[in-house]
Symmetry: C2
Amino acid sequence: MPQFQPVQPVRAYERIVEQVEEALARGDLSPGQRLPSERELVTQFAVSRSTVREALRVLESNGVVRSRPGDPKGPEILPYSQSALRKQMVRLARVDELSLSELIGFRMIMDGAAIQLASRLRTDEQLAEMEQTLVAMREAIDVDFDAFSEADVAFHEAVARVSRNSLIQVCNEVVRGVVLGLIADKVSHATNSRALMLESLQHHTEVVEAIRAGDGHAAARIARQNLYDYYATYVPTPDQPHLQALLDD
Amino acid sequence: MPQFQPVQPVRAYERIVEQVEEALARGDLSPGQRLPSERELVTQFAVSRSTVREALRVLESNGVVRSRPGDPKGPEILPYSQSALRKQMVRLARVDELSLSELIGFRMIMDGAAIQLASRLRTDEQLAEMEQTLVAMREAIDVDFDAFSEADVAFHEAVARVSRNSLIQVCNEVVRGVVLGLIADKVSHATNSRALMLESLQHHTEVVEAIRAGDGHAAARIARQNLYDYYATYVPTPDQPHLQALLDD
DNA sequence: GCCCACTAACTGGTCGGACCAGTGGACTAG
DNA sequence: CTAGTCCACTGGTCCGACCAGTTAGTGGGC
């Protein structure tokens, strides 16, 4: 007997979405190009305009296209953006399926890996870039916490670029955004924020030193420890061992 | 002068989506509950059915609800699932600029981290589970490569579960799927596939031994080395240093 | 009394047509 | 050649309709 699979009805708009996404995956469609107008798609797909519109709404919600009223050139194919990925991660985090400790643990892994890679693959120019972001952090301490946080982001982005792995870059950026969105207010209201910033700067300087020396393990270890020290207080006590397991002994 | 922000028109269906998602975030709506029927929503939101449907399509594409034709109870609020997150990650991975070396490098990081966490957080039952998947791998060698690959997946999934970090689980699963999709045929056509499988099993056994001993670093190192040995030949030579940078010296 | 087949009132999926406000390109007047 | 007007066309929304399918309630047969 052949094995039969349960079949659920495939709706017309879904097949439109599939066709567009396939064209995108095959390269027949690339960012910047335009889709035909809705009324034109109606004739091409031989469906009603409602169906075309439902497909476009789904594509739009997935960050694939964008429609603008009155634009004679039609819906635009968007370049890939992390916004949809971030949206899903935020949703995951909001449903409490994703605990803060998981997010921070993931950041420790990603950041540590990026730094380890950076310490082996960096060029001298890139090292200089990283040191430049350290200077910016020091200057930002005297402004306010937001400025410091911004400079901190710039540092981590520079490191992620050097890692030459765009998956790391994206994951880092997304998770950082989610974490910040979850606890930014708590951190910025900390009484001893200046001390925190100074300590963080110190850690970052040590990381760069280790990168300069090419000691990837030390650099990654310091980075993970820094993240742990920075965030551990916001993590429920029973979850803290999950983070400590990522620290070197 | 006040700083003005560019405003873009908010479409009616977007406000419906927002209202539903807010209700969900506030807890006024929980998984398992039902939304009113489309025609009922038409009166509640005071919009047309097309608009309601576009909102429902977006919610459905985001994995928030599911509509079934004929169901008098109306669209169902779904429990959170990672499928939408996975979809976005697959989209990211499919963007052509993502090279095989980046994917494999990411796998080395993820798998290594999962194994390091597992070696510290595992219970005895979980260790037994992992050893069980090793037995399955050994048995699968005598069947065929697909069976072995399946058992291998089971092993890595077991490890990811023990890591207690669902982000790692999802990332691992997604990246593994993408990598396999890219080079599965090449691997399975290798002439010495039996030797490869035996070697892989040997490596996995060593990993489990290190996990049993609680030596997270050794376990992670072996795992990364295993992945490197397994996949490096498929990576263009100029990219190989990017992977070697992830191996311990 | 219970069980089963039937019916009817829904459901979502799709269609076609209509109107509106706005865009942008072409066309015209200067 | 420029500046202004105009109009074809865009997407956003609405309405009404039909269909196939599910489901719950009804009714009849046992």
